[in-house]
């Protein structure tokens, strides 16, 4: 925990996740693209809950809203609540195996999507649901690799002690 230096690696990963979210891909891929931003936020909360909390999550969520052209606060609300759950449960999730973690992440991603969907539905812009929750599935499948990648990054930059 070297003071504010840790943001040197946290901020770039969040920016990279935002860019992956906007990266132009073929249509079918756009429908299964996992929510990289949510995944990366969950990782950082798990790894350093004393650094990355609900306030950071809200700001990142707002950025996500602007990049997605969503209602301001829509993704922010989802991200804040997901991060809050992780903050309550991080000690438990940390000791899970990668597969168990992936399952937990799947549930968290679903919660986020349901919250976003709920707001869309309330303003009468509900999308069709056939493929809507696929990104949660791909996100959970991708989690182990993302986890290892981010952990390597964090260790290389010696951001935090454990996990």
């Amino acid at each position: 925990m070297q003071g504010r230096g840790c943001f040197k690696v946290i901020a770039p990963t969040i920016v990279a996740a935002l860019m992956l979210h906007m990266w132009p891909v073929p249509d079918w891929l756009a429908y299964i693209r996992p929510e990289f931003v949510t995944l990366v936020m969950i990782y950082w909360v798990l790894a350093m809950p004393e650094r990355v909390g609900v306030t950071v999550a809200w700001c990142v969520g707002l950025l996500l809203d602007v990049t997605q052209g969503a209602i301001l606060g829509q993704h922010a609300l989802g991200l804040v609540l997901v991060v809050y759950i992780v903050l309550l449960e991080y000690q438990r999730i940390r000791v899970f195996s990668l597969v168990q973690q992936a399952l937990a992440i799947f549930v968290l991603l679903l919660i986020k999507q349901v919250l976003v969907l709920w707001v869309s539905g309330m303003v009468g812009q509900a999308p069709s649901l056939e493929l809507y929750f696929l990104p949660s599935l791909t996100g959970a499948i991708l989690w182990p690799w993302l986890f290892l990648l981010l952990r390597n990054l964090r260790r290389r930059f010696t951001v935090s002690r454990s996990f």
């Binding site: 860019m19 990266w23 809950p49 004393e50 909390g53 609900v54 950025l63 602007v66 209602i71 609300l77």
Partner: protein
Amino acid sequence: MQSLFLRGPSVTLRTLLLVVISIVVMVADHRWHHLESVRGTIETYLVYPLRYVINLPGQFVEWGDESFSSHQVLLDEKRKLEEQTLRAQVSLQKLSVLEKENARLRKMLSAQTKIGEMVLVAEILSIDLDPYKQQVVLNKGRNNEVYIGQSIIDAWGVMGQVVHLGEHSATALLISDPSHAIPVQVNRSGLRSTAFGTGNSQQLELRYIPHNADIEIGDQIISSGLGGRFPPNYPVGRIVSIERPAGESFATVLAEPVAHLDRSREVLLVWHNPPVKDVLLHDSDVLSKEQER
């Protein structure tokens, strides 16, 4: 020294506070449209740089394509374009005659004349937005005097309108988005309707058309200009299916947009004088304007 437990009133309290703030922000943004400037600022200073970087590879490929294409290909393209220009000019000649004639006839009927429109070419950035929304990002923004609600068209017809604005970029909602509706008119019969987006970029739905309305498959629909948001008389789509289910009060009419909503790369931003103002003009004003020209 790190605390072992993070739970406690402070985290819960902050979460609750942020949830309340989120809800307030959502209401302010969606209901009252108070936060366009906040969105514009975030867009300009935080999101636009990212979008710019993401768009670079696409631009590079395009540049490479142009720079390294062979002499022969360029010559062919030049010939084709010259031919197209010639054709366009020929039809323009006719058009100018028709326009004059139209203006004269309208003057005889003392109806207002069509007022010229200004356009600006903008490029669609290769950026993905929410796949469940029909939106595109353009490379022109407040710097180019783009405004919220401005119509965008491509070479074939109406595409949509600007909904969010940054300094150098703008987000446009396409006419096929489920939350979008455009007032239209059937070109052949003059029947007015509203075309709603369906979320499918190949389909629009015309609602509230009675069973006995004069409408046929293949009819062209154009923007009617009612409401003052879209310029009138631009092609919007073509009717592809009409069903008149017994027991329903309205027919189900589907149209296909003529604009290449998912293929166009270059679009036009249109400035037009809102018709509301024009209606207030007296005939004498219109005439004096005509003479000034």
